[in-house]
Amino acid sequence: MRHLIALCCCLFGLLSFSVYAAESSPQDSLLTELVGAKLKNMTPILEKLANTQGEAILPLFRILLGGDLYYIKADKSLVGQFDEQGNTVYKDVFSQVVVPNLSKKDVKKIRVNNTLRGYLRNAIAQIQLTAKSPELRQSAVRELLSKLDKDTINLIEALYPNEANKKVKEAMGLALSMYAATSIDLVPSNRLVAIERLSTSLEGDVRNTLTKLMKDENPAIVKAASEALENIAQRANRFAFIDQLFFGLSLGSVLLLASIGLAITFGVMGVINMAHGEMIMLGAYTTYVVQLIMPNYIDYSIWVAIPAAFLVSGLMGVLIERLVIRHLHGRPLETLLATFGISLILQQLVRTIFSPLNRQVSTPSWMSGSWEINPVLSLTLNRLYILAFALLVFIALVIILKKTSLGLNVRAVSQNRSMAKAMGVKTNWVDAMTFGLGSGIAGIAGVALSQLTNVGPNLGQAYIIDSFMVVVFGGVGNLLGTLVAAFSLGIATKFLEPTTGAVLAAIIVLVFIILFIQKRPKGLFPQKGRAAE
Amino acid sequence: MSANENTVESFRETFRRDQVWPFLTPAQTKVNVDNQMILYVEDLNLSFDGFKALNNLNLYVNDGELRCLIGANGAGKTTLMDVITGKTQCDSGTVFFGQTHNLLNKDEAAIAQLGIGRKFQKPTVFEEQSVFDNLELSLKTDKGVLPTLFSRLTPTQIDRIDEVLKIVGLAKHRFMLAGALSHGQKQWLEIGMLLAADPRLLLIDEPVAGMTPQETEKTAELLTSLAGERTVIVVEHDMEFVRSIARTVTVLHQGSVLAEGTMDQIQSNRDVIEVYLGESEIAEGEEV
């Protein structure tokens, strides 16, 4: 109990000190020590800083953690590098006042490495246990779960009774239980209660703790721990299934995006479009160029890139149709040949313009990271958005083809070109528009893929085979088939992968498709009727 | 227990002493027409996505007969031929060729090899090959892979092709690509292909569509001359033509038989007039 009181005093002292410290500048001697310190020697300096400065040091730690801490070569004073509307500015670490007239040449970076980052994170968490925002406090507790030492526990214990926020309190309780469960000097019954409490949590650190308890000397503890683990595993398994399903849907959405344009150019128009992949590639490069043009608005760049990519790929598609495909009506196999040639040309074209190297496309901040539902289930945001986006594109396309005359006309043209002409259908226009639409959608797919994979000259090649496979598996000429095929192949692959590995899963899926087509020679959703025979 | 019984049962079934296993029975190609009948079609049903194209259809055709099949557009005439020739699987029913050949479990090629030939409503010929080659391919020969690989035209076969060419009036076009023939010429070529195949049963779907009156007459003669030795089933909407060849006429309606009889009987059948012929048909027919 005495301990506790002492600690509380200490804590208040610390707090009041930090209030005071925030006004004046922290000890300069320690700070200058940071400059020019070897990486190995930095931890003790930082520790000292943390101990003496408390919360006041947070800005410094945060900047250092982000790798943005610099010092001015001239006077060895510390500044943070910030990005303000695309301009790099340097601000004083504590007062946040911009230091004018500094350029990159005048400053030098203070390096950090993993060890330091690990330390910083922990230190920040310790300090943040008393932060104002409940979210910060909660994440601080969670951060600390992996390194619960006596001091931390004491701190948490002191804060626990006064914690108002339910979630933070819960997290703190968890930390205390974890500590209690492992304290050998505690009475076993208390430990058992703690273990019981742990069995409701999905935190990885909890599981690690319980796993360690399996080696405990007390058989009752071991039994309880194993029961708790069992409990957790059962719940985790359920989430693992959801996780896998999400992976499958996500892969499916990528397949869908990649193949949906082909479902039009190939499925509806009958052009064996080997340049489809390059249309995707053009879309991805468009995203790159858009980000190049608006480097300070990466978060909005996607919204510009989507229509831009649609236009670029779409216009390229119209161009290809007007120059080449138009002359190949009624000779579907020859379209394979010509579009293969076009795909070679387009690949080399981007190689010439953009170099053969991959280009960097950044992910907007709102698409980065993941949506953490609980400690074992988190869905990555970019994939979540892409999944939604794929469905949206699909629906839009279905509407275009069903509700506008384009859809009807293109089908008529592909079934009987000269009769369509005789019915007043402007076949040239329809062809160009349809090919443009298919290509444009491929371009949009490129925008999405640029968020997941390489933007390089080979991007298209990587997707062309899968795209054809999906369209054919679904049934040529059937958009719904493409949708179902994409998702079922995606899900099948993802459920196979854990047991077979990625390579074998791919092989199994291919063999499955081959065998499936024997059963249904026209794909999942075959075209029916007399004429289809 | 019952599963066990089933196994025993099926074992017994497999080894019944009064029957030989199907694969041991010698391939029968002879058509058994002991009771005069060459084609039995019984209780045939077929629907496409709920649409009943054939509805309890029964049809019996005697050996050597020339039978005309008429009926409204969409009555199921072509579909019936599709079922007989193995193109379409029916939902239920029986189709026998002679007394022994169940056509329903045979594929198109097997049925054709049994001696059932067919002319399609829309003429289909091998467009990229010459008229001559079209006929050569149709000849009645062993159609297995190896025999075909090593076969050569015998003089009799060449004579036969020449004869057919003369009959169908394409002698001048023998080396022309079939694809370049006009619609009517393709009709003739297809009839020629039938003749070359020398089948036992001919199913002829609308042979005179697109032919001039004189050609129609010629076709009528040809078909009449074929009957007797062969059995011919003709589908046609040209009543004049039907009248000129028909002995027995069967009228289909909505997938089943509406009436059957001689031409005169049919022409005076009220139902037939209502759904098919129309009131003024007779008058119009007489005009020419």
Partner: protein, 235 residues
């Protein structure tokens, strides 16, 4: 209305039409006859613009059609019912009919959202079949659909290539009635290729006989006598 002057046409190396001349009067029903393979279908396709001609001129209302694409000709009011029907097989009956709606709205200046009821009055069977695939219909049903489809365009000239091929007798009669009715009521000009004399005589007002790609006889239908038939139609 439509006049065809010295039209030559070739398939690859073989000439089919040889300086063919033909005059179609407005409001007439002209029946083009001739043996198989003389070039009737070829002629109709040339009028419709589906086949390029080598030389000569095709005019409608004095305007040259030669340079116009087929779709333009549809807008000018030519409706075409091809030999073999050429239904869009995977489109439903309704969709087959809807294809022509844009042309119709351009031609009639009202913009109909729906298929004119008139079509279903003429061919009631199409109404029952509205949602079935065109390719699934029987031959006769397809033929009716093909005519109905051409009528959606609200054409002033209707070209029919052997419309009775494979059609049941009462419908043949009905088609004849339809042609006569449209001709009488709407003044529709009809160009008809027909082999069956009975039908030709009943419906046609004029005839043109074609032999080896040339028009060899033309007159009023009443004047089509046995000697002409023997000379140009007999085998």
């Amino acid at each position: 209305m439509i006049s065809i002057n010295k039209v030559d046409q070739l398939y690859g190396g073989t000439q089919i039409l040889w300086g063919l001349d033909l005059e179609i009067e407005p409001g007439s029903i002209t029946c083009i006859m001739g043996r198989n393979g003389v070039g009737k279908t070829t002629l109709l396709k040339a009028i419709m613009g589906l086949l390029p001609i080598k030389s000569g001129e095709i005019t409608m209302h004095g305007q040259a059609l030669n340079k116009q694409s087929a779709e333009k000709r549809a807008y000018s009011g030519i409706g075409y019912v091809p030999q073999g029907r050429d239904i869009f097989p995977m489109l439903t009956v309704e969709e087959n009919l809807r294809i022509g709606l844009p042309v119709r709205s351009k031609r009639t200046k009202d913009s109909p959202k729906d298929i004119p009821e008139k079509i279903f009055e003429l061919f009631p069977v199409l109404k029952d079949m509205l949602h079935r695939r065109g390719g699934d219909l029987s031959g006769g049903q397809q033929q009716q659909l093909a005519i109905g489809r051409a009528l959606v365009l609200e054409p002033t000239v209707l070209i029919l290539d052997e419309p009775n091929e494979g059609i049941q007798p009462n419908i043949v009669k009905q088609i004849g009635d339809v042609i006569l009715k449209l001709n009488a009521e709407d003044g529709l000009t009809v160009i008809l290729v027909e082999q069956k004399l009975g039908f030709a005589r009943r419906v046609g007002k004029e005839f043109r006989l074609i032999e080896k790609g040339r028009v060899v006889a033309s007159d009023k239908m009443e004047n089509l006598d046995d000697s002409l038939i023997k000379q140009y139609l007999a085998v």
